[in-house]
Subunit: 369 residues, 4 copies
Amino acid sequence: MTIVNGYEQSDREEKLNIINLTELEAKAKAIIPQGGFGYIRGGSEDEWTLRENSNAFEHAQIVPRSLTDMENPSTETNVFGLNLKTPIMMAPTAAQGLAHAQGEKDTAKGVAAVGGLMAQSTYSSTSIADTAAAGNGAPQFFQLYMSKDWDFNEHLLDEAKKAGVKGIILTVDATIDGYREEDMRNNFQFPIPMANLSEYSDGDGKGKGIAEIYASAAQKISGKDVERIASYTDLPVIVKGIESPDDAMLAIGSGAQGIYVSNHGGRQLNGGPASFDVLPAVAKAVNHRVPIIFDSGVRRGSHVFKALASGADLVAMGRPVIYGLALGGALGVQSVFETLNDELKIDMQLAGTQTIEDVKRAQLLHIHY
Amino acid sequence: MTIVNGYEQSDREEKLNIINLTELEAKAKAIIPQGGFGYIRGGSEDEWTLRENSNAFEHAQIVPRSLTDMENPSTETNVFGLNLKTPIMMAPTAAQGLAHAQGEKDTAKGVAAVGGLMAQSTYSSTSIADTAAAGNGAPQFFQLYMSKDWDFNEHLLDEAKKAGVKGIILTVDATIDGYREEDMRNNFQFPIPMANLSEYSDGDGKGKGIAEIYASAAQKISGKDVERIASYTDLPVIVKGIESPDDAMLAIGSGAQGIYVSNHGGRQLNGGPASFDVLPAVAKAVNHRVPIIFDSGVRRGSHVFKALASGADLVAMGRPVIYGLALGGALGVQSVFETLNDELKIDMQLAGTQTIEDVKRAQLLHIHY
Amino acid sequence: MTIVNGYEQSDREEKLNIINLTELEAKAKAIIPQGGFGYIRGGSEDEWTLRENSNAFEHAQIVPRSLTDMENPSTETNVFGLNLKTPIMMAPTAAQGLAHAQGEKDTAKGVAAVGGLMAQSTYSSTSIADTAAAGNGAPQFFQLYMSKDWDFNEHLLDEAKKAGVKGIILTVDATIDGYREEDMRNNFQFPIPMANLSEYSDGDGKGKGIAEIYASAAQKISGKDVERIASYTDLPVIVKGIESPDDAMLAIGSGAQGIYVSNHGGRQLNGGPASFDVLPAVAKAVNHRVPIIFDSGVRRGSHVFKALASGADLVAMGRPVIYGLALGGALGVQSVFETLNDELKIDMQLAGTQTIEDVKRAQLLHIHY
Amino acid sequence: MTIVNGYEQSDREEKLNIINLTELEAKAKAIIPQGGFGYIRGGSEDEWTLRENSNAFEHAQIVPRSLTDMENPSTETNVFGLNLKTPIMMAPTAAQGLAHAQGEKDTAKGVAAVGGLMAQSTYSSTSIADTAAAGNGAPQFFQLYMSKDWDFNEHLLDEAKKAGVKGIILTVDATIDGYREEDMRNNFQFPIPMANLSEYSDGDGKGKGIAEIYASAAQKISGKDVERIASYTDLPVIVKGIESPDDAMLAIGSGAQGIYVSNHGGRQLNGGPASFDVLPAVAKAVNHRVPIIFDSGVRRGSHVFKALASGADLVAMGRPVIYGLALGGALGVQSVFETLNDELKIDMQLAGTQTIEDVKRAQLLHIHY
């Protein structure tokens, strides 16, 4: 165990014997300090949207197919010009030092080991360069929380470019922090510096609450910001936090080269729909003009399948990976992705889908009672 | 603590550290005597409608909006010619002396502190004049339970006018008391005089059950009564307890200048719909001819947002405020409104709505499974 | 307490202080021997239909009405040429000696006291004549379980006529006993003779299980049986156990002068719909040609209201009355009906309905989520 | 008790006093070793589909019918040219030695005693010939898990033919084993040889996990395989594991003489629909061209009724029979089928259906709330 500013960080490094990802939460809770765990797990208000995010996958059913003359389905896919071994990617997730002493470096290693796509957060515990280096050449995206300070934004984009990241995820649904009750109950403040902030200034986030961190972020975001960022960088810009056809159209019209459907894992607007429930309408509006990344509530291979069959090109996951990171470091992260990908492969076989493209064309049922 | 007729009234005066309003019920239960608490909390029959009132907000979902170029949403609004800092108002609620020794006076102070609208009840523990004075010039409405004795009705309207109230809320859904089982179990009788009754006669309500109190109220109410009251006073008359387009049309046709959609917080007709579920149909019938006030089941900022987006101009709340009153007096009341308004502001930002007018124009989803 | 064949019968005679009817079950369970209680309470198979019978009332909502210029609603009604003080009647219920030493005689007294309609069962513990006499001239119906022995059927119809009953309820949904697990678990056999059986033969039902009792009943029933009974008696014949428009049409075509919509309180076919859910379709088919009686699951005044507003002319209740009988004899029965009728009156006032005819014309909402 | 390779097999032989089939699970759990019980009971992933299989029967309701002039309904039926006393058949179920020392032999005896149809599994604990002989001339089907080794497939078909089986059930939905968590938790390996495997080679399945067993099965299955098997044998080939109209059409087009609608009891693709929910669409596509067998989730007589009324010609059951086998051997199996058939008969009488053909023509309601 590593102790930083009185906060006990896990430093485990081991493969995990995972039955399913939902079991990780209780195990992680036992080793992550209460404030850190609350920040990672929690959602906003009474967490209706957080719960609905996972429950909503029951709103669609996969049709079992049997006489399809196939075997050994492949989860390989090519999105944003990247060859990936799995359509399951790492969602950009802040402050992973809360879970493990190696933070995002170990996550990057674990993701690289499964041939997936890593996304770094602006609010990472480790720096863009360090996280990128840990990934051993595997593809990474950088997620930008747009600052009011454009110099800082440009600095981050420069750093990301320099580190060789392949795309920019611009988060636009966090213009204010959601009403997160668990953080309030824990009076949570980040005990660990955020490397990208401390590099640029002496305000490194340590000792601050989430509200203070967000205070330096831009609250007022529009298509013009998308345009400005897209014109500053030659990397593809994916706009994250889209839950409506209108915002998707605005983003694409402003130069977005990808749409990231997400309600921030139920951490922002509570009382909004499950992210899975809005995916089909957004996908219909996007109409294959740009790739779609989806997250919020994904815990099972069948969730990944259903999201792909509802319009997603990549499916991201946050909390379970962080739990795996805490429990096993890079190897734990790898175990989490392997488990979910194994489940996905079984679902693909049993649904008669050879490739990820087949999954995207699969028809779901929507039997409601 | 103050003891009146053997009843223990809270006299706390302090700001509350509130995480969410639903937590207040258990805290208030610990300090309000059983009979009084049962009267405040209870609904009718098996409380299906009471529970459905809050659950029904899940029948609609707020669409998160991100690229809307806005910040610092404002909850200010102008309704009935009144400039209000928040669209969340105090619902007229009887007998607040059950919760606190200062009763309605403290509620009025707390509401004034947040720039909201106070509504007094005919069955207040403190008099119209005293409650009005406590409000420091902030706007108040007076709610009338129509008596069989028109002299008394006119006396109350005169008192209200004299005290400077800005509108009359005429409650029409309490022509008989609902079948409130908790009051029956507690054999509840009001331990504290009702000031407006004792001023006028020696029948002050003390030592009576709710059925006896209602017995002096008019059971037979029609549009003619609305007309008579509207012609007696030059204040706007808002008819409260409307749950159908038919009654809304009747009320407006009889001179109502506002419609108050409410099922009395589930305290009258059980087996009726959640108030939120009938709001859109009533609003469609009213068609912006007069403002609409809504209550019943509101506990979260997202509830306020959804009610406004479904046709309400003001959203009222009763029980949580009374709990706040018991726990902290005027400061407790202020804390309750501030908490809910803070939640509303976050929801407004995350839904891309700058003003209350924007919220009213927001489109909700209705995803049902 | 009275002990008959080792079975302990209640002999209480007292008014009950009832908050609501659902609370009676637990109280009755405490004083009725296990086998008897299981027979009274139980349903068939896993009791899905039994539970759904009560839950289904939530499928419809009463519209609160306020400006309707009415007071003092009346529950009086005239059906089958009978002036009744309440539309709530006693459902024909077997073997009431299981609950009380006075059996059906006390039930008849209690029903008479509230001005309601009593229905005797073929399988009563007390004889037709004795039960009729106990009713003090108040109207009664006699319910016939058709025997394979037509002499016995005619004997019963003769007895009923002689005793002055006003109508014959022909039960047609019990051609075999439902799969009642609680009776199987208790290995239940009737400990108390059935008076109408013992009068006619030495086979009085005592010491038999429900299956044996039903074995002497006709299993094969058709419209021809309805015709035969209708032509034998000049009393109106109401066919009980109708859950479909088809059976309703068959019954009316065969001379039925009333339709009794019931699924036998969930005691016969499990996996069938809630009785309330099929009432509108049956009522539409019947189209006011004959009156409709409804039962199955009624526990609240709002249930009675909703059934009347969905096509019923009378609403019957069984189990809660039997519990009241056990707990208080004739006075207990009276208390049960008074409680439900009081609830109904409150619902009528709050829904703006002056008369039972108004209730029948009231429109329900069907908000489903 | 018999101990084989350290595994304790039941050797009980007795009639069971069954109230309902759902109660058997807990009783069986008490006597079957944990690993074996987990294999029998378990489903895949979080078992949503397993649970939904049984819950889905509530999506349809049987219409009670009363005036239908019938008695003594008969469950006899003729399907595939076989005269059966009951439409309830034994589902092909692997490794019944886990439940009882006599394994499939006792199951065959019990099924024969009720005049039903037995289906053997490729992965039986007892051999084709032994199981067939135990059936005393009663009809049996043989279920084929298609091996990659066609010599083995033909050997099995030859053995089945020689043993006098009347049909071949070709399972096509197990091209890979479902993600069965309980087996993973128990690290389950088959402790008992699979007779058909050990006869043919020295790989008898003992000491292997389900994944290893399936590894020798063909993963890639198409209509061509159906054709090849249908042309090799002159027995009717029924394709099992069909959940979509598309696969049903493919199977029939390839020579299938029966369609077996099943999701493998929720053991394969989780997140797929309840089998009962897809039955009507498959039946509509099949349009009576070939008989339909249905399984997954059947526990009550009303389930059998609803499946028949939704398009099935035979209804199969697995787990409850295995529990009965463990608890009572052949007599236990007989008790399970008798209980369910008794329930079915009661449902038939109360729904006014004289014959299984009448049941198939019965109209169900689909009331959803």
